[in-house]
Subunit: 183 residues, 2 copies
């Protein structure tokens, strides 16, 4: 069985060299040299820090949006994608008590989260991991993983900058931005 | 901090005497004498079986529906609510690959899940626990917990029967119905 759970281990091992660990909103994370991404669980002893997330069903995209995303996106692990970013995010209580329709309205009708992401496909590949319901005390709600070629680095900065000024980001109360390169 | 995680321990301890463990769809669960409900984690050694679930944000209800539910519902633990039911449910892959809007359409527009539940408030109190994203290998997707007075027992049977004949239930591939009384 393919695990839906992934563990990101920050420490001294793994194929990804850490270029930067930037505190964007709220508490940061300790700087580390390398990042390993493993399918399934890992022992807390393995790194300096360890983040877990699980891929899950779509929460906001419509059927038409999903079809557009699937048609344009490419998989992780492309040979040329030597750049990556791990962006852990937590949203505040105000977000989580909104109804589904209210969250959708902020997410897409006000913030164009899907439409923005679509413009950067297939250059930027992405996998979203949910953490919030793994336990009652996770440090983040989401771990977003991006992979792209050096030629798309500027486009990636643009994508991240566009999302950070949306109304949706008003609900983000913790965000760390970890940039990586495969060596 | 109030834990959102709850563990249901089937064994020989706890305030709830098990009246029946019925296999409704797919594999059942071993019969046990008593059920304990604890906030947070519990050790697997504590009972014959152990089910975990976490309360989470609303997935389908609209703001108006949520307001109606909140206005009519009452809390768990009422003195007169000596009857309870624990109904663990798993939905199939076909359900989980639907988009959000498609799941909502089946859930409410076709199956009137909220409208049906509303008619049985405040007699039947309810807490929904999510399991699907606790790990990649949970035996159920949801654990639904109901409490009601003996006088509402017939109404509760009606509620359960109504939901089981909806289009939504076509996506259920495992369901166990555990009935309990507080002693």
């Amino acid at each position: 069985m393919n695990s839906r759970l992934f563990t990101f281990i920050g420490g001294t091992n793994g194929p990804w060299r850490v270029r930067s660990v930037t505190k964007v909103i709220g508490d940061g994370l300790d700087p580390v040299e390398r990042l390993d991404v493993v399918a399934g669980h890992a022992e807390p002893s393995q790194g300096k820090w360890l983040l877990r997330g699980i891929t899950s069903n779509e929460r906001y995209v419509t059927k038409a949006e999903k079809q557009n995303l699937v048609a344009k996106q490419q998989g992780l692990g492309r040979a040329g994608s030597t750049c990556a970013a791990l962006i852990p995010i937590r949203k505040n209580q105000e977000w989580w008590i909104l109804s589904q329709e209210e969250r959708r309205r902020v997410f897409e009708e006000s913030s164009s989260h899907v439409a923005t992401g679509l413009r950067y496909l297939p250059a930027v590949a992405r996998r979203l991991h949910h953490c919030r319901d793994l336990s009652a005390s996770e440090p983040f709600d989401f771990l977003t993983w991006f992979e792209y070629a050096p030629a798309a680095a500027q486009a990636f900065e643009q994508l991240v900058a566009e999302l950070r000024v949306t109304p949706e980001w008003q609900y983000v109360d913790r965000e760390v931005d970890i940039r990586l390169e495969r060596t």
